[in-house]
Subunit: 291 residues, 2 copies
Amino acid sequence: MLSDPIARTRRFHRAVTTEAGVLDASFLGRGRPLGPARVLNAIGRGISDIGEIRAYLRLDSGLMSRLLRGLEEEGLVTVESSETDARRRSVALTEAGAAEFAAYEALSDKQAADIVARHPHPEVLLQAMDIVATALGFERTTIEIVSPLDPRAIVCLEAYYAELARRLKSGFDVNLSADPEARDMEHPRGAFLLAMQDGMPIGCIGLKGTDKGYAELKRLWIAPTARGMGLAQRMMREAEAKARDLGIACLRLDTNSVLSDAVAMYHKLGWSEIERFNEDPYPDLFFEKRL
Amino acid sequence: MLSDPIARTRRFHRAVTTEAGVLDASFLGRGRPLGPARVLNAIGRGISDIGEIRAYLRLDSGLMSRLLRGLEEEGLVTVESSETDARRRSVALTEAGAAEFAAYEALSDKQAADIVARHPHPEVLLQAMDIVATALGFERTTIEIVSPLDPRAIVCLEAYYAELARRLKSGFDVNLSADPEARDMEHPRGAFLLAMQDGMPIGCIGLKGTDKGYAELKRLWIAPTARGMGLAQRMMREAEAKARDLGIACLRLDTNSVLSDAVAMYHKLGWSEIERFNEDPYPDLFFEKRL
DNA sequence: GAATTTACCTGACTTTAGTCAGAAATATTT
DNA sequence: AAATATTTCTGACTAAAGTCAGGTAAATTC
């Protein structure tokens, strides 16, 4: 009973679905039926194309149309034909609509804050929620190419630096390391890949172009609560594919032997150990892969 | 973003509610609307009194009545007047109804198994789910008095012994310890209290009657994923209250100094350290409280 | 340029969920 | 014994969600 995976999972389901009644409360808390509330929130989250909203919420086209008419009559949204394809239509929030969406957001935030506040050790609960969210939503993980200066990228990089400082015996000071310049990790010299899931960044990797006949993979980091799911390998493969797209023939990376899981993965993915190729004080292992 | 409690909680919510679409699938997966499916499952879980089902599912009496008629017409349930109060009615599954309920159970089990099977490290996910379930459902925790031979009690006791064996330097062999006899922990000599939440035992404590002028508290255990929530204190208080009900004037307990959290709690709850009062090899600290 | 497809809309419909007032039978209180 | 309360049922209703068969206009294919 305490160890049976099925009993435990079903108990989890019971617990969250009773709690999910509360979630619906945040969607029903403004005196509007669930249908229009869901559509309004989809628009607020940035989906403007009607067809996309329909697919996202799995609504029949007739129903969708009526829900939109309702929101239009409330003065919350405006609908107009798309410029590129006059059959398609796109929706935007009016000022009143934006205010209404903000009110829904405030309700959801409050509800989230309440859940955390009830717990005597919030960080324990939050980490558990991260693990569950990552596991349940793993197939929804997308890998985006963003600027290394994107706030979501910076969040990951800071977590990466903090972890290195914790794990390396010598500590880690980003100023002593050769921190890649942003434009070396942007098109056309390189790229910065971010793993996103349900709106949360859970991993990153940088592809840094150089003028030395090879490019480097830098800043591979996976959120602790997302480890063990094979995401690092996926990020590596995507980064290698991106390098090929950019016409890069040779990749290098440096790492520290403390990060034994990473080292094992590099071997597994066909990387070969080579001689030190830079003067950075932190790495002690160096790899290369020809594409 | 990575550390913001609200963003993390909302991401969790999104992840589980998209997944909860799957949950509904287990209730909708047999071609029956949600209403009758919920009623059938409530009956299957052992609630037979119509009024109780109504309260449990929060259904209007008219709606309830109609849903039951529907299930009756399907040949899944039989309704008859209660013997003690002819106004009340109680429901039972027919053979076909029991089969249908079993089919729903199989769907839920399969869904639970799928979630676990998808994860490369199931135990990590399961522990996280336990923590979340405990946190979200904490107000639903009930403390029941059961026989120490109840399977749910035995599950807890085995976890307790396993943990002692792990934490005590000398190991722990239940055969060398003075294991209380079941009838010393049953009415009228004592009691065995079990903390249950959403169908899962998450803690226990035994009140053991003796003929020596005092009773003992034994086998206090809280599931690791439920610790830090104050449940141990609640169990202690309930056990003390139960002791008072049984006319017990003095309580004792023994413990080991390794279990420092427990020792701190005993002090906090007004227990005083006393001299060794038994020859059990494992404890090295002894407490007493007069009621 | 005619035929087909796509995207959205409209109107007519069904199903599901839920509400409410009152009826009937039984229990409880006075 | 009468009055009141409780439990369930029935009928008449509403709201919300969802379905389906066209219809229109624009885009795409042949």
